[in-house]
């Protein structure tokens, strides 16, 4: 009887953990999301070069920011940010999150971008300082 009770408690705990750890992802690859991801993939090399030159940095809101350069840099940054927003909004929509969760998604992506940044690339920390 005690074994059964212990087993039941363990099963309930396991179920609770499974519910608590939500698996977020892009659950549906809609044409808009696919296009945004493919476009990001295509411009990744150019963006990486601009980051290495210090012309573009990763801000703390999950978007790239033009720090130097002209209209071409700004156009690339605008296009990248537009695609990022499509991806962020898709994560919110497809995972049943409240619209207010968009800010959290953006912040989490900003953190991931900081972690993945190469040495010398400009990133903005949570306090707003550029490093």
């Amino acid at each position: 009887m005690k074994k059964m009770l212990a087993l039941s408690v363990m099963m309930m705990c396991a179920a609770s953990i499974a519910f608590a750890q939500a698996a977020y992802d892009l659950k549906e690859m809609t044409p808009v999301v696919k296009s945004a991801l493919e476009d990001r993939k295509t411009r990744f090399g150019d963006l990486k070069s601009l980051k290495a030159e210090g012309k573009v940095g990763e801000n703390n809101r999950g978007y790239v920011q033009a720090l130097e350069g002209g209209a071409d840099v700004k156009a690339l940054v605008a296009a990248e940010n537009k695609d990022r927003k499509v991806v962020y909004e898709a994560i919110v929509d497809q995972n049943g999150l409240d619209a207010s969760a968009l800010a959290t998604v953006e912040t989490v992506f900003a953190r991931v971008q900081r972690d993945k940044a190469d040495h010398g690339e400009k990133v903005q920390d949570e306090a707003g300082n550029w490093n």
């Binding site: 608590a20 939500a22 977020y24 992802d25 892009l26 991801l37 993939k41 991806v87 994560i91 959290t104």
Partner: protein, 59 residues
């Protein structure tokens, strides 16, 4: 054994029941706060960025 399952079933039901007390003609608003699993979100974000950078091949 049967009583154990009964207790378990009652426990599960109790966790899902919302009891509203008050004037039935007066609407009540329940603000639901959904906690986001940040670690899970980070994992998803990392996977997407790996795909974009070419580190991961499929999304």
């Amino acid at each position: 054994m049967r009583s154990l399952f009964l207790v378990m079933a009652l426990f599960c039901c109790a966790g899902c029941t919302v009891k509203a007390v008050g004037d039935p003609n007066r609407p009540i608003t329940i603000n639901a706060h959904i906690t986001i699993d940040i670690k899970g979100l980070e994992k998803a974000a990392s996977g997407i960025e790996d795909f974009v950078s070419g580190t991961a091949t499929s999304k």
